[in-house]
């Protein structure tokens, strides 16, 4: 029940990660990431300060201190979806399991984040889930639904579309996104997410048991929790709870492992003698954590090696002129360390202008946002992305601050510009330039057109100190292909 409520809340917030006629977000749509203690841990390590935005994660820590790893089965929307997928994917019965992997991943992520390489985005369950939904699931659903209604509208008889169009309109208001969105890396995000579900073939909650680093962190915390299951081992002649446990929370000696239990409480029901129960009690852990010293040390070494590898990568020595970070972005190094690749900024971007990086910035930049002006520009009065960022990688800006925040600078390609290259009148860029003293200005010049006739032309130029790099000029430039005015990050 609580699972369903949390899932519905999650989906509601996902849908409302959008402009709703309000300049400030009415709901804390990023709450999932702010509840995530793993985000808290890596961001604190990366920024070396406490980010107040992340205070809600203490709720989860507190909850875990009392009730153990209940988050995984009571709240986590990915867990709920995985449980739900059991109706379609028949979970395997194999006992193949690697419970130490989640601790290894956890150690790598934590240590490397302390040295400025943020890997959480690749393994955090919410990053994977939200990104998968933003980049692929949501656009796919909208595309398919629209395809159905559009076909009826275009090809069907008018009498039919009189009925379908109101339904479509209703769906658009309550269920579908306002616009069809398009994203790079839609394939990759889709398969990363789907892979989590495919792993169910190896056994129930395979991801949660073996890979999820958040699960690992909560497991460690839950070792001191006070709400636990008794008895602390499976009964010799039955072992039903052990064989049916979705979390495999029993070790080789049939001892119950508290930290692996996610308190789904199914064992209350299938115990034939009804002797299992959950109660408050201070109990000593009777099992070891599922990781040995050798694994721990190697994980630590990997965590140390990755930041070194990243610092010796030549990419850190070059500037990518096309890499325009969203407004409010921290200094690039700190930004990379602070971005958990949750995809919220890209979801909320009103013009679908923010897109995920692939290998432009090597591994450590993957899935971080950049502005692609040809796809969409940064809306002058909009500050939504800075409001939804859960970690402060994009610091929150008000409208005045946003108007002054420089994300890039525009420059002309005079070989392409209609005015310079073809002596045609245009200045669409000047028309759209939103700054109050326009950053694009023009001179009236006397020149000759291609036929040699004298004419007066308005020739645009960029007044650099006024430009904030919103990219509407690049977006709107009527030259086909790449624009004749472009925004660069290092101009």
């Amino acid at each position: 029940m609580s699972q369903l409520i949390c899932l519905v809340v999650f989906l509601f917030l996902f849908r409302h990660t959008d402009y709703t006629g309000n300049d400030t977000m009415p709901y804390a749509v990023n709450i999932l990431f702010r509840l995530d203690p793993l985000v808290l841990a890596t961001i604190t390590l990366a920024q070396k300060t406490f980010v107040t935005l992340l205070w809600p994660s203490f709720i989860i820590i507190g909850l875990t201190l009392f009730f153990g790893r209940c988050f995984c089965s009571w709240i986590c929307p990915l867990g709920t979806l995985i449980d739900g997928s059991g109706h379609f994917i028949k979970p395997g019965k194999s006992k193949f399991s690697l419970p130490y992997l989640k601790y290894i991943i956890l150690i790598i992520v934590l240590i490397s984040s302390g040295f400025g390489v943020q890997l959480l985005g690749f393994v955090d369950p919410f990053s994977l889930l939200v990104r998968g939904m933003v980049f692929s699931i949501d656009p796919i659903i909208n595309y398919l639904v629209s395809l159905v209604f559009d076909s009826v509208y275009k090809m069907g008889p008018a009498a039919l579309s009189d009925y379908t169009e109101p339904v479509y309109e209703w769906l658009k208001i309550f269920v579908l996104p306002f616009k069809q969105s398009f994203f790079y890396l839609s394939f990759l995000s889709f398969f990363l997410l789907v892979f989590i579900f495919i792993m169910e073939f190896f056994g129930k909650r395979f991801w949660c048991k073996n890979l999820c680093p958040l699960g690992g962190l909560l497991a460690l915390i839950s070792r001191v929790s006070v709400f636990k299951r008794v008895p602390i081992r499976s009964c010799k002649n039955c072992e039903l709870c052990e064989t049916k446990c979705r979390m495999d929370a029993f070790d080789k000696d049939h001892k119950f492992e508290f930290e692996e239990c996610n308190l789904c409480m199914d064992c209350l029901e299938f115990c034939p003698d009804q002797i299992t129960s959950f109660k408050f009690a201070i109990q000593k852990n009777n099992t070891q954590i599922n990781i040995n010293r050798r694994q721990m040390i190697s994980a630590g070494l990997i965590g140390l090696a990755l930041p070194v590898l990243s610092r010796t990568n030549a990419i850190s020595k070059t500037a990518d002129d096309d890499l325009i970070r969203p407004p409010g972005a921290l200094d690039e190094t700190l930004f990379l360390a602070s971005c958990v690749r949750c995809g919220e900024c890209m979801k909320v971007c009103i013009n679908n202008a923010l897109q995920p990086l692939f290998f432009e910035k090597s591994m450590e930049g993957m899935f971080t946002p950049k502005l692609v002006p040809r796809l969409g520009y940064c809306e002058f009065n909009c500050t939504l992305c800075t409001q939804v960022c859960p970690t402060g990688a994009l610091s929150r800006l008000n409208v005045e601050q946003k108007h002054a925040f420089v994300i890039g600078k525009a420059y002309f390609d005079t070989n392409k510009c209609l005015v310079y290259a073809q002596k045609k009148s245009c200045i669409v860029c000047e028309e759209h330039c939103p700054t109050h003293d326009k950053a694009i200005k023009f001179n009236e010049i006397k020149t000759r057109d291609i036929q040699g006739n004298l004419l007066v032309l308005k020739q645009p130029y960029v007044k650099e100190e006024l430009c904030i790099g919103c990219g509407i000029c690049e977006h709107i430039c009527p030259v086909p292909g790449s624009s004749a005015i472009r925004v660069g990050s290092s101009v």
């Binding site: 402009y19 809306e379 009148s425 200045i427 028309e431 003293d437």
Partner: protein
Amino acid sequence: MERRKFLKQVSLWSAGIIITPPVFNITPKLFGSPLIKPDIIVAKGDDYTSMLTQVVESLGGMKAFVKKGDKVVVKPNIGWDRSVEQGANTHPMVVTQIAKLCLDAGASKVIIFDRTCNEERRCYNNSGIRPALKKIRDKRLRIEYIDDRKFVSVNIKNGKALKEWSFYKDALEADCYINVPVAKHHSLSRLSIGLKNVMGVIGGWRGKIHFKLGAKLADLNTVIKPDLTIVDATRVIVRNGPQGGDLNDVKILNTIVGCVDPVAADAYATTLFDLEPNQIKSTVEAYKRGLGQMDLTKCNIRYLKS
């Protein structure tokens, strides 16, 4: 009738039954002939609602334009994510009052839309137009976002600079089309008034129109011919148009101009900026196409007392 034939082609094209775009081949007859002397009604004051009522009344009342059961399109300028005071969009009070008059005249449907330059939801909301219209609780009134499926390619047979472009279906099919532009400065065309407002009902990559803009606007205006033009010059951007942003660039004129002739409406509104009608290329080109009168000495200009 030519128009009926054209509309039939529009609906057939939309339904995917014919592939060749509808051909618009209607030559404007009514205007631009020296025999007709269009009325230009000018109202000044700060009660925009009653000024509008008087302007429309002086032109014969809304019933002269909107017949009972008509589908009416009211086309304001909602192009920019700017506030009411910044003057980049039509004043919401002007739009709502026109809409109310249309509803009172018995329109079966009043549709209000614009193809915006900034993000549409921001423009509709921050222009104040959507919130103001939402207060009129009438099911016949609809403020709609542009639906890309509704753009119809039109072959402009008599176009001089533009032979084919796509237009919004609702605008083509309207029984009565009321143009409600805001008058403002525009860097390329000098001014943006009624004839320029047609940019909001066309599809395609509009930036491409900016070469020979005046002539192309005139061509577009042969297809979309408003039955009534109400120019909102309550506050006008005099510099850094068409979107402005700085309140120092805005001048309060408290003026509303009404005219049946779209060219005459623009011609008169031009004088509010201390410019001559012949300095605006689209006005001159539209006049040449016979879309209306640009010589103000050949118009009846009537000033209403408030």
